[in-house]
């Protein structure tokens, strides 16, 4: 048993850290987030050249054909660097296409030529695929990430009574930005007016594809949260070592030091839960779905708590616009919400674990 990255996985992670430190320092993050779409074409192309955009896309479809653990390692570093733009949106859409048994756009996604997103939520704001009501393909979708630059959208809609997934050209729909807490990633309202789309799955197949895409995206969100926590902790600990009050570094006071220790506990535990979920999903073990929910439950709450302590430890400086911590704090809240918050995933655990324990006792 080895719970930890293999040598090649560690190399991938180290390379990603070096790459984003060079190509996407905080000055770049701040520049890109001020643009209309919070997306940078040059950075995106460099990421494609590294193979990052096709990390879990099969080799025969033009990707690197790596697994969920490699994805988590990469995305953790992206979270640590607060990389803006459509990576998570494109990942979710690509995973849905692939899980629906299609290879449409996967090669272009891996090459950086196509950016994609997943349009799921409606006015009910539910992450449960059962809540999809929009008929194919007419109506409104909300909270669609990075739709502003998406060339293609995977749209969940009802075909008759059944859930179905469609590929819709991103340029044919009306997009309205929904200004929100995370400045590094835009959310949109999409209005479909009897739009054309290619149906890639229907009924059970659509449900399975969507479930899988959401599980993949959820693990990625956990990895991003973990990376964000890591960076927030590093910034706060550095400050606690250098900032002096009453003649001592504030990190010498236990009231401050113990907040840092809590940040460490929360960050490392999120990391453990995230990599276990990635591994479980990759191996297709029976408890993979509950493991994904365990990771998202834990990392969602931990991300917020680490953010709170990261600001608190830095006092007034932590509350300023110039301090980078608020950018991570914002991202942490958006990721806490994305693909279901802790409350959503705890209820999912209740169904997957607690209800089944009664069923098995009765049976």
């Amino acid at each position: 048993m080895q719970f930890g990255l293999s040598e090649s996985q560690q190399i991938l992670k180290n390379n990603a850290r070096k790459f984003f430190a060079a190509e996407c320092p905080m000055s770049e993050v701040r520049r890109i987030m001020e643009t209309e779409t919070a997306h940078d074409g040059k950075l995106w192309q460099s990421m494609a050249e590294q193979g990052f955009l096709g990390v879990v896309i099969p080799e025969e479809a033009g990707g690197m054909g790596l697994g969920m653990v490699e994805l988590a390692a990469l995305v953790e570093e992206m979270g640590r660097a607060l990389v803006p733009g459509a990576f998570l949106a494109t990942l979710a859409a690509g995973a849905a296409i692939h899980a629906a048994g299609s290879v449409r756009y996967l090669d272009e996604i891996a090459k950086g030529q196509v950016k994609a997103t997943l349009a799921l939520l409606e006015s009910s704001a539910s992450w449960d695929p059962d809540a999809v009501r929009m008929p194919a393909i007419h109506g409104e979708k909300l909270f669609v990430p990075d739709a502003g630059i998406a060339d293609v959208m995977v749209v969940a809609a009802r075909d008759g009574g059944e859930l179905a997934l469609y590929l819709v050209d991103g340029k044919t729909v009306e997009k309205t930005v929904m200004p929100a807490i995370d400045l590094t990633r835009r959310l949109y309202k999409i209005s479909f007016n009897h739009a054309n789309g290619e149906r890639i799955a229907k009924g059970d197949a659509a449900r399975k594809a969507l479930d899988h895409a959401l599980d993949v995206a959820t693990v990625a969100a956990c990895a991003e949260l973990t990376g964000g926590m890591q960076r927030t902790m590093e910034i706060a600990v550095e400050y606690a070592k250098t900032r002096k009050q009453f003649g001592k570094p504030i990190g010498q006071y236990q009231a401050v030091q113990h907040q840092c220790a809590d940040m460490f506990l929360l960050t490392e535990s999120s990391r453990s839960a995230t990599y276990f979920a990635a591994y479980a999903l990759n191996e297709g073990v029976p408890e993979a779905r509950s493991a994904v929910s365990v990771a998202k439950t834990y990392a969602s709450d931990a991300g917020r708590e680490v953010g709170n302590r990261g600001v608190q430890v830095q006092g007034g400086m932590g509350f300023t616009w110039e301090n980078d911590v608020h950018l991570f704090y914002r991202r942490a809240k958006a990721n806490e919400i994305a693909f279901g918050d802790a409350t959503f995933h705890r209820e999912r655990i209740a169904r997957l674990v607690i209800d089944r324990m009664r069923a098995s006792a009765a049976g």
Binding site: M1, Q2, F3, G4, L5, S6, Q9, V69, V237, A240, K241, K248, P249, G251, Q252, Y253, Q254, Q257, H258, C260, A261, D262, F264, L265, E268, S269, R271, S272, A273, Y275, F276, Y279, A291, S293, V294, T297, Y298, T343, H345, R346, E347, I349, A350, V353, I354, D355, M357, R358, A361
Partner: protein
């Protein structure tokens, strides 16, 4: 990343599982929750350890040279998990097996190894630790129990406290001050003390949970032969820290299995007990709280797997090792509180009460868990360790 067991590990697991399957006493699960004198209970556990020893299962982590199995770390973890899974009784000589034996192996001389180790494994001699004192708890190095050299003996005077198994112990690993004129960490020595020596007095210390797991031990002019020094005179701090490292090691492996069993039992209760005319397990608030407990128990398991893997790979615990103590202790307190909420008025019922769930063990579990964030290094000390030794913040004390 690979969480599968190797063929050797699987074979080891099967062997362990088979042995426990055949040998775990059938009356233990019932007996565990019954009122019984501490002495009678201990005799039972001592006999059980002897049985494990005779079959070669006591001290699996110890090298073969000293009567163990030389198990790899993963095998130790498997062993501990299987033992918990089989609901086997604990072994009587907990501190001897887990802490003091390994300390003697690491720091003791050949004569000491020959004299003490086998009898630890067989539970022929029970051990306790004499570390904390009334004025030296978290600040252990401030301890004042003194040992003065008198020919070929040390004369020991002082008082120890919080000594688990002190009432049952034949021997004590005692930390004493042998040089009061040097900085506090430098004047300490570890002695092995025969508890039957004249001048040793043990008093029980009743806890808030009602038991007397712990003791106080008083030493008045107790004579300890110089050959009972472990390591070197005035180098006791190193030896004592070596012991505490073991305390924070593989201990969590059994906890994780026990927590999961307690969780499963609580879910069963939540399915039975009514709340607002429905089973409590259908109440949305209870569902959230149970799912949070499940989440934390799982995360504890993942943290442990990571920590064990790290030790296995590099020989030293990684940073995630230092969070375990805080994690399991605080988790258990939250879990016990959720159990109380689910059981409502029934939760408070103690052993012997009609209508109590599981012979009142939840009332006991709730009270006992309060000690978790104090014993084996308080949460505050654990956070100091993370702050200073892991994050590199200046020492706060």
């Amino acid at each position: 990343m690979d969480l599968n067991l190797t063929p050797q590990e699987l074979a080891f697991r099967d062997e362990v599982r088979a042995w426990f399957g055949e040998n775990v006493p059938k009356d233990w699960v019932r007996r565990r929750n019954e009122e019984e004198s501490m002495v009678a209970r201990f005799a039972y556990l001592r006999a059980w350890q002897k049985k494990m020893f005779d079959a070669g299962w006591a001290g699996v982590s110890w090298s073969k040279e000293y009567g163990g199995r030389g198990a790899t770390l993963m095998e130790q973890v498997i062993f501990i998990e299987e033992m918990a899974r089989a609901e086997a009784p604990p072994m009587a000589n907990v501190l001897g097996l887990g802490l003091i034996g390994p300390t003697i192996i690491a720091f003791g001389n050949e004569a000491q190894k020959k004299r003490y180790l086998q009898k630890i494994l067989s539970a022929e001699e029970i051990w306790c630790q004499g570390f904390s004192e009334p004025n030296a708890g978290s600040d252990l190095a401030a301890l004042a129990t003194e040992a003065k050299l008198d020919g070929d003996h040390f004369i020991v005077n002082g008082q120890k406290i919080w000594n688990s198994y002190g009432w049952a112990a034949d021997w004590c690993e005692l930390v004493v001050r042998t040089d009061p004129n040097v900085p506090k960490h430098q004047g300490l020595t570890v002695l092995l003390v025969d508890m039957k020596s004249p001048g040793v007095e043990v008093r029980g210390l009743k806890q808030m949970s009602g038991e007397s797991e712990f003791c106080e031990i008083f030493f008045r002019d107790v004579r300890v032969p110089v050959e009972n020094v472990v390591g070197k005179v005035n180098e006791g701090w190193k030896v004592a820290m070596g012991t505490l490292m073991h305390e924070r090691g593989t201990f969590g492996a059994a906890l994780q299995v026990n927590y999961r069993r307690n969780f499963n039992r609580l879910v069963e209760i939540a399915h039975q007990i009514q709340r607002n005319g429905k089973p409590a397990s259908e109440d949305p608030v209870i569902r959230q709280k149970l799912a949070q407990c499940y989440t934390e128990i799982e995360v504890m398991r993942f943290n442990q797997m990571r920590a064990f893997s790290q030790i296995n790979k590099t020989g030293v615990p990684g940073p995630e090792g230092s969070i375990q103590k805080i994690f399991w202790s605080e988790l258990n307190q939250r879990f016990q509180q959720v159990a109380m909420e689910i059981m409502g008025p029934f939760g408070q019922l103690a052993h012997g009460a009609e209508h109590a769930f599981d012979q009142g063990q939840w009332e006991y579990g709730y009270l006992r868990s309060r000690g978790n964030t104090i014993e084996a290094g308080t949460s505050e000390i654990q956070r100091n360790i993370i702050g200073h030794f892991v994050l590199g913040l200046p020492k706060s004390y």
